[in-house]
């Protein structure tokens, strides 16, 4: 048995979510190899080599993989797939983009967004936006899987795996990178933060999200938003937590001025502790919150910031 785990990274840093994907791979059983596909990405390879439970790190360092375009990466992974029983990626933008191509090229199904591993061929995954949980047995010889990391705890990083450079260059030549507009933030990533504070429609406008910043700074939190706040134009979509945004499960999730629509709950209800601040005592968010406070957020937030 052997597992190939695709490293999620930006050519400089290995994303923390990969440590959780490796935890999922460990439950599948067998020898674990991490693939780092990128360009000038040796720093990522060195971080990957420290991931516990990994025996080998394959590095495909080539300009063709710089932006991890699905067309090129899928050809690379498909060529490597021969040697592995499970091909596993994190269910983030990159993995979700290229993995189904790998599955189709290998003529196998993909099992998406697993939250648990029951055995080497049986997996648990949410369907209907998490309103039902399916247990699925794969009938394919080779399993192609994406992992929703909220279901797994990160492995440690005191390992020492062998790094092997591979010289496989695949360039489909049909797609090319143009540009990127990434949100620059000093705060942790939504997906990796241990504390998340999110604002909803109750914030009233984008400026008022500043009220969350002081609290986020004190708690080392990431700032998120509900779809209602994004749709109202308060903040950009990459801050969205929910079924159609990011799925998070921090130790502490603070929902401010968020009513608790099903689609938002789908993105945060696996958080360990949920706090809700809302002036409407009937808001559904209180039904999932461990601690609720019925208050005007414009009074509660400055007080909370002062008392932390």
């Amino acid at each position: 048995m052997s597992v190939l785990v695709y490293a999620e990274h930006d050519n400089q840093n290995l994303k923390a979510e990969t440590l959780k994907t490796v935890a999922a791979a460990q439950k599948m059983g067998g020898d674990i190899t991490i693939l780092v596909a990128g360009h000038n990405c040796q720093a990522v390879a060195e971080q990957a080599a420290k991931v516990n439970g990994v025996s080998k790190v394959l590095v495909a360092d080539n300009a063709a993989y710089e932006h991890q375009l699905a067309e090129n990466v899928s050809l690379l992974v498909t060529e490597l797939a021969n040697d592995y029983d499970h091909i596993v990626a994190t269910a983030l933008t990159t993995g979700k983009n290229f993995m189904p191509r790998v599955a189709a090229l290998l003529d196998v199904a993909q099992i998406s967004d697993i939250i648990d591993v029951e055995s080497e061929d049986t997996f648990v995954r949410p369907i209907y936006a998490g309103n039902a949980i399916a247990t699925v047995k794969s009938l394919d010889a080779k399993k192609v899987i994406t992992v929703r990391t909220t279901g797994f705890d990160a492995v440690a990083t005191d390992g020492n795996a062998e790094i092997v450079n591979i010289d496989i260059v695949k360039d489909a030549g049909t797609s090319s990178y143009v540009s990127e507009e990434l949100t620059v933030s000093e705060r942790p990533d939504l997906g990796a933060a241990s504390v998340v504070i999110s604002g909803g429609r109750g914030m009233q406008n984008g400026d008022n999200f500043k009220l969350l910043e002081g609290i986020a700074d004190k708690l080392g939190a990431a700032i998120g938003a509900s779809r209602a706040a994004v749709d109202a134009g308060f903040v950009p979509n990459d801050m969205q937590v929910g079924q159609t945004g990011k799925i998070v499960a921090p130790d502490l999730y603070i929902a401010v001025g968020i009513s608790g629509a099903i689609q938002h709950l789908a993105g945060m209800k696996d958080s360990k502790v949920i706090v809700a601040i809302n002036k409407d005592p009937e808001a559904p968010i209180f039904q999932v919150a461990d601690y609720g406070i019925v208050a005007d957020l414009f009074e509660a937030l400055p007080e909370l910031e002062a008392k932390l």
Partner: protein
């Protein structure tokens, strides 16, 4: 150029799903069904490209039993020119759907295929990418902007950290994200007109593909429910609870 838009019939997004008591699946009996929201955005984008004079024809396709003709008629009412139903009574997984769509792509030779990024029932997010691999086309997934420029298409994609723009050679596959557009409502005259637009039925069995299932659904259960906690009376009490009871802040 011709645009192909595969669409899926799913549970209406406003309906709360319930798991069957025997845990075999969710209960879809007598539940309101609709066109998958992401597919509706795909139809809208194709129609806008036609209205802008870039596309010449929009063809909608759906795979399922006769009931999915309802959603194909919706696509026709929104502005698609004709529709294809691939008849099957089986629930097919994404790979088999992609294989059937590959056959339609070979027949129709569209320059652009626009699909929803995922369906709100199985939440797989696979079909567009699989179709792209099978047809050897490039893909622009999770699109928030689509600009056709000669024999290329520029796609702006919603990625984890923000937005990414890529250029694809046509023919290409695009999958839609929520912010690509806001779909229109079909007008009554257009709903009436849609009844007369061509809708061809093909049998999935006639394509000569092996469509056997690749997985077995062992069980479906309701998610673990969260117990409502307590209402605290003051910020002081909240901070005290978070420090000393939940121990999530120090």
């Amino acid at each position: 150029m011709k645009i192909l838009v595969p669409i899926k019939r799913v549970i209406d997004y406003n309906v709360k799903v319930r798991v069957k008591p025997d845990n075999s699946n969710v209960d879809l009996a007598n539940v309101k069904m609709a066109i998958n929201p992401f597919c509706e955005i795909a139809v809208e984008e194709a129609i806008r490209l036609k209205e802008a004079g870039i596309a010449s024809e929009v063809v909608a396709v759906s795979i399922g039993d006769k009931s999915c003709q309802e959603q194909l008629r919706t696509a026709l009412a929104l502005g698609a020119d004709r529709a294809i139903q691939i008849e099957t009574s089986e629930t097919l997984d994404a790979l088999n759907i992609a294989k059937l769509l590959q056959k339609i792509v070979e027949e129709e030779q569209p320059k652009l295929v626009i699909l929803g990024k995922q369906s709100i029932d199985s939440d797989n997010n696979q079909t567009g990418q699989m179709l792209a691999a099978l047809t050897n086309m490039p893909q622009g997934t999770f699109a928030s902007e689509v600009k056709v420029d000669g024999d290329k298409v520029n796609v702006t994609r919603e990625v984890d950290g923000g937005l990414q723009t890529i250029t694809l050679s046509l023919p290409a596959i695009v999958t839609t994200d929520l912010r690509l557009n806001e779909p229109r409502y079909a007008s009554l005259p257009n709903i009436m007109k849609a009844k007369r637009k061509p809708l061809v039925v093909k049998s999935a069995a006639d394509f000569g593909l092996d469509l056997s299932p690749r997985s077995t659904l062992l069980k479906v259960t309701p998610p673990a429910t969260r117990q409502a906690g307590i209402i605290v009376e003051s910020i002081d009490e909240l901070v005290e609870k978070l420090k000393n009871e939940a121990k999530v802040i120090s």
